[in-house]
């Protein structure tokens, strides 16, 4: 069965939420809630909750980046200090811990920030994965619901959208 994309535009979150709720309760064959995407001008956690759990992995990237930055920073500085040809230290340690903590801390933050941004871009699946349907009226405070479903289910889905006063329905075949 071929998969079809359909996207409906709604005036506000309430109408979009009602349509989404009916879609969820409909148990249509060839349709899964995992294949639904909401497009909105602001974040709406209540509406997103209807879609089910969608984990965010940004924190793992942050943790990795911060730990990597700290370890790499300290290792680079310590190895540079240990590689001085002449170690005229007057009894002081070759690799002093307290002053090295400053640069370690800076690299901890720098790598943490950069990996957080990278993790977010990967979470967005950018730049490769663009959603097939988009309506610029989302920027004008309209709410869009994008559904990917079997072509047989699409008529029923569009009927639900129409029943909940969708402003516009767009479609595209894979």
């Amino acid at each position: 069965m071929s998969k079809v994309h359909t996207m409906a535009l709604f005036n506000d979150f309430e109408e979009a939420g009602n349509a989404l709720q009916e879609l969820k309760d409909s148990n249509l064959a060839g349709f899964r809630m995992q294949d639904v995407t909401i497009k909105s001008p602001i974040e709406h956690p209540e509406l997103s909750a209807l879609l089910g759990p969608r984990p965010v992995y940004v924190q793992l990237f942050t943790l990795f980046g911060a730990v990597f930055g700290a370890i790499t920073g300290f290792t680079l500085i310590a190895s540079a200090q240990a590689n001085f040809l002449l170690q005229i230290r007057g009894g002081r340690p070759v690799v002093p811990i307290p002053p090295n903590m400053v640069l370690t801390y800076e690299l901890f933050i720098l790598c943490g920030v950069l990996m957080t941004a990278l993790g977010c871009f990967i979470g967005w699946k950018l730049p490769g994965n663009r959603s097939p349907l988009y309506n610029e009226r989302v920027s004008e405070d309209k709410i869009a619901i994008l559904v990917k479903a079997d072509s047989a289910a699409i008529t029923a889905i569009n009927a639900i959208f129409t029943r909940h006063r969708s402003l516009e329905i767009m479609g595209e075949y894979d």
């Binding site: 979150f13 995407t37 909401i38 497009k39 909105s40 001008p41 602001i42 974040e43 509406l47 997103s48 879609l51 969608r54 965010v56 940004v58 924190q59 942050t62 500085i77 540079a80 200090q81 590689n83 001085f84 002093p96 002053p99 090295n100 400053v102 640069l103 801390y105 800076e106 690299l107 933050i109 720098l110 943490g112 920030v113 950069l114 957080t116 941004a117 993790g119 977010c120 871009f121 979470g123 967005w124 699946k125 950018l126 730049p127 663009r130 959603s131 988009y134 610029e136 989302v138 920027s139 004008e140 405070d141 994008l146």
Partner: protein, 322 residues
């Protein structure tokens, strides 16, 4: 600027590494980290707004915003990732701001020079940075509000809260200043005490007293609501505070140069040359030009945050009416 090469932490052509125990190396790294992280944070927070610009612009501007908005479509997955990432970067930036100003202070504090070798310098620099930042925000707030007619977005309650915050930070700064004076006055370091007396009575006395007056007395105007509600007065006060904070930096540097340990290094007064004044004025010019370009090209008010605020307020109103 062209000597920046010598403080960046990589070996030169003779394979000599910089001294990693020197705060100058820490400073270069901290400023680099701060600059990079701030740019990432600023750009990241603008992505939803850049997508709005993309959807409304035409011609080459559309392509420009299309490129910068990175394909943002406002999907639930994008918003969820964006929220977590934006908050995380903000959490990184707060300790980073403290660390970068502390490290700049360490450049001075770990030296042996009278007037610079002061334990309270790191928190003093952090407070000074926050203080001058808040004063600059008040100035730019009033200018943007007037020029772009942003009365509905840049509201008086926001200005009121900013002024209160500035007053609180001004008092912290004043307290740290007094700690510095008291610890030098009652301490055993005669050179530091001489430098303090020189600041208050010597060639730089007018600037030292002006700094203390502008930085510690003028902010008391922020304590009065009637003053905080008057934009003209706030504009004047914020400019005076900025001037006070500029004098603070000038007073940290110059008296120690002019009145150090050795009498034969004393001068009749170290004063910036026309080249140095040119660099100062040039930096003001660069800042003004880049700020105006930013205002021209990018959204100066976060549109999605305003939309969120309007939405949540209308929802709260609906809930009250039910």
């Amino acid at each position: 600027m062209w000597q920046f090469y010598y403080v960046v932490a990589y070996p030169n052509e003779r394979w000599t590494w910089p001294n990693f125990n020197s705060p100058l190396v820490w400073d270069a790294t901290a400023i680099g980290t701060y600059l990079t992280s701030s740019i990432v944070f600023l750009y990241f927070g603008m992505i939803p707004d850049l997508a709005i610009c993309r959807d409304t612009a035409t011609g080459f501007r559309r392509k420009f915003y299309w490129f910068l908005s990175l394909g943002w479509q406002g999907t639930d997955r994008q918003w969820a990732n964006f929220r977590v990432a934006y908050l995380t970067i903000a959490c990184f930036l707060i300790p980073l701001a403290v660390s970068v100003h502390s490290i700049v202070a360490t450049d001075f504090a770990v030296s042996q020079q009278p007037g610079w070798h002061i334990t309270s310098f790191p928190p003093y620099f952090v407070a000074g940075a926050l203080y001058s930042g808040c004063a600059a925000i008040i100035t730019l707030f009033i200018i943007l509000r007037y020029v772009f007619r942003f009365e509905e977005y840049m509201t008086m309650p926001i200005l009121d809260k900013t002024c209160r915050l500035t007053f609180a930070i001004a008092m912290v700064w004043t307290y740290l200043n007094l700690i510095e004076y008291a610890s030098v006055w009652y301490g055993n370091d005669v050179y530091a005490k001489e430098t303090l007396i020189y600041r208050a009575t010597g060639l730089y006395a007018p600037y030292w007293w002006a700094m203390n007056f502008l930085g510690s007395v003028v902010p008391f105007m922020l304590a009065f609501k009637s003053m905080r509600n008057n934009l003209t007065i706030m504009m004047v006060v914020s400019l005076l505070l900025n001037m006070g904070m500029w004098l603070e930096r000038f007073m940290i540097i110059s008296p120690t140069f002019a009145h150090g340990y050795y009498p034969w290094t004393w001068t009749s007064g170290w004063w910036p040359s026309w080249v140095q004044w040119g660099i100062v004025l040039g930096s003001f010019g660069w800042f003004s030009m880049l700020f105006m370009l930013f205002c021209k090209i990018f959204p100066t008010v976060s549109m999605y945050e305003v939309k969120e605020m309007v939405y949540h307020r209308s929802e709260a109103r609906k809930a009250r009416n039910l």
